[in-house]
Symmetry: C2
Subunit: 477 residues, 2 copies
């Protein structure tokens, strides 16, 4: 049993093993609690290496996930182990850090505590952890524009489990189509809709198109995977809104070249077991005509359109972690915490917020929810914590933009790096290099590189395994 | 919707794509239905390559699993993708084979049909597939000696999902122990019991001991993973009963050297959320004294003994697939089908049974339930099918024994190959070579070899990821 009183969790049980010294003698040093082991939290922890603090990193999962490659797990190119590492393994050498698998339920700024649900009690009962400084890096989850009922029909992509659910749903659709001989049912099973035209949606659509056109090509006897219909639906006027115009156009061209139907300016109005419904965004008719093939894409459907699809994947809205709500400060539209330039939470000088949960503008532009921002903010927050400890003035955060990229299937990518626009094969190679380079853990780099080399040469995806306890039930309803 | 009438499933929809010809023109050729894509079924299918038959292979999973390495996925050394390949990928080049993901519910020998549950209908409604010849290779599942209620506390190891459940349970125990400061609860969380002293149990115990002693060593701040207690419980007098005496003794020595407590002659009487209970098998007291350290191991407990353990893993009894029951022939004690020497089912000349579901004796000895036997039986059954088609007399099956092996943790194995006993490091290298050699798919071989090289040099297990929708709930109850 866990005893809710603070010491049980906050002060380590004395232990004489290697490396324990730093902890058992460290009671006097201030405790920094980091909530979240994503890019923000992990880089915050690393920036505190060797500092005279006791760091406690809390995460709901035991792994740090390299999110930019998550879609590759969802599309059966990589194994979960290729893009994730146990957080405590990543930080094993940093003796002033302890990692706890814990589900943070709320923050109590008045008493300087975070409340965690205790797995030992499975829900009922909870414990709390005291902090002197807190770095809140709990990120964001995918949101369904208030239609939570859509989630069970259109899984999103934030965790490894999400990715495995997507993979299962997608592969099962082909398997079921092979068993199915009713042409309508078969067509529905071979129709895939991706909602959301951001990087995740674009990358999912590209990868899905390749699976159908290439990877599965010789595997079936009754269906032609090449005939699968892949539709990318985006509410806004453009794909990749964060990208400069030429790259957006290039991305769309590349997707359409792969046989993906792109429907911009189309607002999803319903998702159910049959498929999706959307209507054109009339306010945006004008913009649509600007973007080259927009008109064609908008085409006939002036009214609501229904598409029968067994597989709908969600890559649209995000909502910030609900933990922001317990801070008692006004949040922005998507629930993010508006931070001071120092990354502090207004009114809570010892709470810092970083990553997707942090709303911060720079030169009038809101900072995007990308890994680079989270990493830089995490490290900056930690440096400000140390400044605060030394009584020095805190410094404002300044984001250094190294660029943005997205891949479109095999051997093609678009991006702008250091202001230079790159696309096509060069872009893809560059994207590959960058992502390998940023992957945590040498081992993963080697593994992922070899996977990619193999997949590139053979068109094959090695990890086309359908796992998960409910292999089939309910997936086609 | 699936229509229950046979043609819907049995005869392929006409298709003009590459390779379809062989099917659309093949209606006249006899249909061979293979149930199960394990070692037996896969090798049966391969032995029919190029033969004038239409082969339909049915499996509940879409992957062929290299079972001998499954414990390595359970103990976080390998990823699911390393030891499994999509069945239709493995057989993609064999144009007379079609692979269907289907849950076979029963066999109807009178009408020569197999009944499959239709995922499209999620349970209600089913379809059937006609056959001229059937090769039944549905294998075996783990059994709980009639105590099905034990399963939720002591997961077994037959599928990839089983392995991921085991991995999660094991890793979560360490995570929870780190959060826990109640010494009794901590001790319970750091106690691991493996039930069953066959190869799977021995390999699990060895791998678990290494994780605790080496892999996790530097990762925790409050617990000492090295202090974990690992107990291997076996009802019989010896570990590895199928192995020759010297190797059994060697295996036990190696396990105890790794710090595993071995309890032979101990019969499990209960498994619940608290742990396990067992009693010494008195009938076998005599044998226990023979086996070297048996006496010490048996030690004080003359009566029932309770061990508090959060993690109990099941590697004991097996029960043959229930499909045997629908054949209407008498089955043996564990539900296996006693086959004729030709591998035919008595009274059903066109049904062959192979692998773990097949009960066959050779020179008075029952053939063991190992991959080698299944592979050879599968290929032999197919050759007999072709003989039957040609009106030739069928030939009796003869098993060629190449040997048996088991690994005990890192760099140690015991085995007998071509009558030569090998153990220790040589044994391990040989084991490694053999298993790499037999792995399906070149890609997997490279991946697995590199994983092993890495793990061997660094003691690290890369894929220590806790996945699964219920990360924590109920695992410690």
């Amino acid at each position: 049993m866990l005893d809710p009183s603070e010491p049980r969790i906050a002060s380590p049980a004395p232990r004489q093993a290697r490396g324990a010294a730093s902890l058992s003698t460290g009671e006097s040093r201030p405790r920094v609690v980091i909530v979240g082991g994503g890019f923000g939290g992990l880089h915050a922890a690393r920036a505190l290496a060797g500092a005279p603090v006791r760091v406690t990193l809390l995460d709901r999962h035991n792994y740090h996930l390299f999110q930019p490659l998550l879609y590759q797990v969802a599309t059966a190119s990589l194994s979960p182990g290729d893009i994730a590492s146990a957080i405590r393994w990543v930080l094993r050498g940093q003796q002033n850090v302890e990692v706890l698998l814990a589900d943070v339920t709320a923050i109590d700024p008045e008493n300087r505590r975070v409340l965690v649900a205790s797995p030992a009690e499975a829900g009922h009962g909870s414990a709390s952890i005291a902090y002197d400084y807190m770095i809140l890096a709990s990120g964001a989850a995918h949101a369904y524009f208030g239609h939570t009922e859509w989630e069970k029909h259109a899984p999103g992509l934030k965790t490894l489990d999400d990715a495995l659910v997507m993979r299962r749903k997608m592969l099962l659709a082909f398997e079921e189509a092979e068993r199915q001989v009713n042409p309508d049912a078969q067509r529905r099973l071979l129709t895939f809709v991706i909602v959301g035209g951001g990087p995740t949606g674009v990358e999912l659509a590209g990868a899905l198109a390749e699976i159908a056109r290439h990877s599965l090509r010789h595997d079936f006897r009754r269906i032609r995977p090449e005939s699968a219909r892949i539709v990318l639906v985006e509410g806004g006027p453009h794909l990749l809104p964060a990208f400069p115009e030429p790259l957006r156009v290039e991305a769309r061209r590349a997707l359409e070249h792969l046989g993906v139907e792109v429907r911009t300016g189309s607002i999803v109005t319903n998702v159910d077991e049959q498929g999706v419904m959307w209507r054109p965004d009339l306010r945006r008719a004008r913009d649509r005509h600007e973007s080259g093939r927009g008109k064609a894409a908008a085409g006939p459907q002036a009214v609501e359109e229904r598409l029968y699809a067994a597989t709908v994947l969600w890559a649209a809205g995000v909502a910030a972690s609900p933990l922001g709500q317990s801070l008692g400060v006004p949040l922005d539209r998507v629930g993010r915490v508006p931070a001071l330039p120092t990354l502090q939470v207004p009114g809570h000088p010892n709470i810092f917020v970083v990553g997707d949960l942090c709303a911060l503008a720079q030169d009038g532009q809101p900072l995007p929810g990308v890994a680079q921002v989270a990493m830089q903010e995490g490290a900056h927050a930690s440096r400000n914590v140390l400044r605060a400890m030394r009584g020095e003035p805190l410094e404002p955060f300044r984001y250094r933009d190294y660029g943005i990229m997205a891949t479109i299937g095999r051997g093609s990518a678009v991006g702008e790096v250091y202001g230079v626009k790159i696309s096509g094969w060069t872009g893809w190679l560059f994207w590959l290099f960058l992502h390998i380079f940023w992957l945590i853990g040498f081992r993963n780099r080697v593994a992922v590189l070899s996977e990619w080399a193999w997949a590139y040469v053979t068109f094959q995806r090695r990890v086309r395994l359908i796992t998960g306890t409910d292999r089939t039930d309910g997936l086609f309803h």
